[in-house]
C-alpha cells in the first residue's frame, strides 16, 4: 500500500527515484515521505524502543511521535514520516539513540 492522499500532509509526488535502505537499493517517488516509500516497499520496522529495544513502526505519521526516527544521510533522529524522499538518499535503521558524531 502506498500513501497517496495523506489526511494532514501535502506533498508533490515526483518521478521515480532510487535510494538505499540498510545497504539495499530501493525505489520510491521523489517528494513522498521516506517512511511512505519504505512502507510501500514492505518495510514495517523503522526504529527500536530505547530501553527494551522493541520494534517500532509507522505511527503518528505527522512528525510528532518519534517512532520513525532514522538515520538519513548520516544525520540521526530524522523523522522519516515527514522527510521528503530524494534521489540517492541513504536511509539507515538507527541503533539506540543515535550517534551524532559517527
Amino acid at each position: 500500500m502506498r500513501i497517496e492522499n495523506h489526511p494532514i500532509l501535502t506533498f508533490e509526488k515526483g518521478p521515480k527515484v532510487k535510494f538505499i535502505f540498510d545497504g539495499k537499493e530501493m525505489e520510491g517517488f521523489e517528494g513522498e515521505p521516506v517512511a511512505a516509500a519504505l512502507h510501500a516497499a514492505g518495510v514495517r520496522v523503522l526504529s527500536h524502543s530505547q530501553i527494551h529495544n522493541r520494534p517500532r513502526g509507522f505511527w503518528c505519521a505527522i512528525g510528532n511521535c518519534s517512532s520513525c526516527n532514522m538515520r538519513i544521510d548520516g544525520v540521526p533522529n530524522v523523522r522519516s514520516c515527514v522527510e521528503p524522499l530524494k534521489e540517492g538518499m541513504t536511509v539507515e535503521t538507527q541503533k539506540g539513540k543515535g550517534d551524532l558524531n559517527a
Binding site: P76, N77, K97, G98, L100
Partner: protein, 383 residues
C-alpha cells in the same frame, strides 16, 4: 488543612527550602512547615542548567561547592532515595578566548588549588583530548576540573523533600505567603492564602522572590530577579563527557546522562524583571554559537526551551543568615545562578545557624549587612 503552629516556617519549595528543612529535621527539629506557592521545583531549581562545578573565583563559593560535591557523592544513600539523582562527575571545561580572561582564570585556579579543588589550566590541544569535537580556533586555553559534573535537580529536590517529610516536616504546596507577623523585633507568624501559621523562625528561601519576602518584615534585601533561558535537545548516544562553558560567549553546553544536550546562555543586557517568557531570539543565538564551538551539535534537534529566574545579588554570592533587625528572620537567597550546586552544604550551614549551633564554617561574611559595610568580594566566574 494548613498547620496552625510550627517552630520554623521555610518559604520556598526549591532546592534550598527543601534541603534546609531536611537538615533542620535531621538535627532533631520536628516542628517544621515548608510553604511553596506552586509545586516543588516550580521555580528556579526546576529550570536550572543542572550543572555542578567547583571552579569559582571567591573562597566562599569554592568551599561551598567543594563541600557540596562531597555531599552529592553520597546523597542518594544519605537521603535513602529510591531513584537515581543522576549525579555524574565528568568535569567542567571552561574555554578561554581572551587574554584578560586567561589572567583571571589563572588566579581562580590558584585559589581553587589552594582549597584542594583539582582544577588545572590546560592547552587547546589538551582540551581537544577531553572534548574531541571542540573547535579550538581562537582558543587560548581552557581550565578543567574532573570532579565537577551534573545532577538532576528534580530528583535532588524530591529526595530532600521526601527525606524531610519522613522526619516529620510538613510541606504545603499551592500555599502563597501574603505577609509575616512580627511582635516587637521578632517574627511571630506567617500569613498565607490558606491561613496563618504562628512560628518563631522564618526562613526566606524564595529565590527570585526573596526581596518581596524581605519587604514583609520591612528589610531591603539587595536581591533581584533576572531571566535566564535554556533549551534541551533530543537524546543522542553519549559523546560529550564534561560541561563545556564559555564566559566569553555567556554559554554552557552539557550532555545529561540519558543523552540530551542542555544548553543555556546569559544575556548581559537582561533587565531586572520577573519575566520568564522564552524569547524567539534565544534558540537562534545559542544554536549559532554552539555550532561554532562544538560543530557536530549543529545536527541536534531542539525539543524544548524555557526560562527561569536567577536570584541575583550584587556580588553574585548568596545572602545567608539572620537579619540583624528582625530576630528569627533568616535569609538563604541571592544565589545568582549557582544555588543548586552549592545547596547541599549551604543548607547544612544554614540549619546550624538557625538552631544556634556552632557552624562547621562561619558564614557571617555572607550576611546581608556586608552591603552596608561595603565588604563585597565579587564573584568573577558567572554565566
Amino acid at each position: 488543612m494548613i498547620k496552625k503552629k510550627a517552630h520554623v516556617v521555610v518559604i520556598g519549595g526549591g532546592i534550598l527550602g527543601t534541603s534546609i528543612a531536611y537538615n533542620l529535621a535531621k538535627m532533631g527539629l520536628r516542628d517544621i512547615v515548608l510553604l511553596e506557592r506552586q509545586y516543588l521545583n516550580s521555580g528556579a531549581t526546576g529550570r536550572c542548567g543542572a550543572g555542578i562545578r567547583q571552579q569559582w573565583g571567591t573562597e566562599m563559593n569554592c568551599i561551598l561547592s567543594r563541600e557540596s560535591v562531597r555531599l552529592f557523592e553520597h546523597l542518594e544513600e544519605e537521603l535513602e532515595y529510591d531513584h537515581s539523582i543522576e549525579f555524574k562527575q565528568k568535569g567542567y571545561l571552561f574555554v578561554i578566548y581572551l587574554e584578560k580572561e586567561l589572567e583571571q582564570f589563572k588566579k581562580n585556579i590558584a585559589l581553587q588549588n589552594s582549597l584542594d579543588i583539582p582544577s588545572r589550566l590546560i592547552t587547546p590541544a589538551e582540551a581537544k583530548e577531553i572534548v574531541p569535537h571542540l573547535n579550538t580556533d581562537r582558543l587560548l586555553g581552557a581550565t578543567y576540573c574532573p570532579t565537577d559534573g551534573h545532577a538532576n535537580p528534580f530528583h535532588v529536590t524530591q529526595a530532600y523533600a521526601k527525606a524531610a517529610e519522613l522526619l516529620g516536616t510538613t510541606i504545603h504546596t499551592y500555599t502563597e505567603v501574603l505577609g509575616i507577623d512580627e511582635e516587637g523585633d521578632r517574627v511571630r507568624g506567617v500569613r498565607t492564602d490558606q491561613g496563618t501559621i504562628s512560628c518563631d523562625i522564618v526562613v526566606n528561601a524564595a529565590g527570585g522572590h526573596a526581596a518581596l519576602i524581605g519587604n514583609m518584615v520591612g528589610i531591603e534585601l539587595p536581591i533581584y530577579p533576572e531571566r535566564h533561558q535554556a533549551m534541551v535537545s533530543e537524546p543522542v548516544n553519549i559523546f560529550q563527557n564534561p560541561m563545556v562553558i564559555s564566559l566569553y560567549h555567556h554559554l554552557y553546553i552539557q550532555q545529561a546522562p540519558h543523552g540530551p544536550f542542555i544548553m543555556g546562555q546569559g544575556d548581559p543586557n537582561e533587565p531586572k524583571s520577573f519575566n520568564i517568557e522564552p524569547s524567539w531570539q534565544f534558540p537562534l543565538e545559542v544554536a549559532k554559537k554552539v555550532a561554532e564551538i562544538l560543530p557536530p551539535l549543529k545536527d541536534l534537534k531542539i525539543v524544548r526551551q524555557w526560562a527561569g529566574l536567577y536570584d541575583m545579588s550584587p556580588d553574585a554570592q548568596p545572602i545567608l543568615g539572620e537579619s540583624p533587625e528582625v530576630q528569627g528572620f533568616f535569609t538563604s537567597a541571592g544565589f545568582s545562578g549557582h544555588g543548586f550546586m552549592i545547596a547541599p552544604y549551604t543548607s547544612k550551614l544554614m540549619a546550624q545557624a538557625i538552631l544556634g549551633e556552632e557552624p562547621e564554617m562561619h558564614i557571617d561574611m555572607l550576611n546581608y549587612d556586608r552591603f552596608a559595610s561595603g565588604k563585597l568580594i565579587l564573584e568573577p566566574a558567572v554565566v
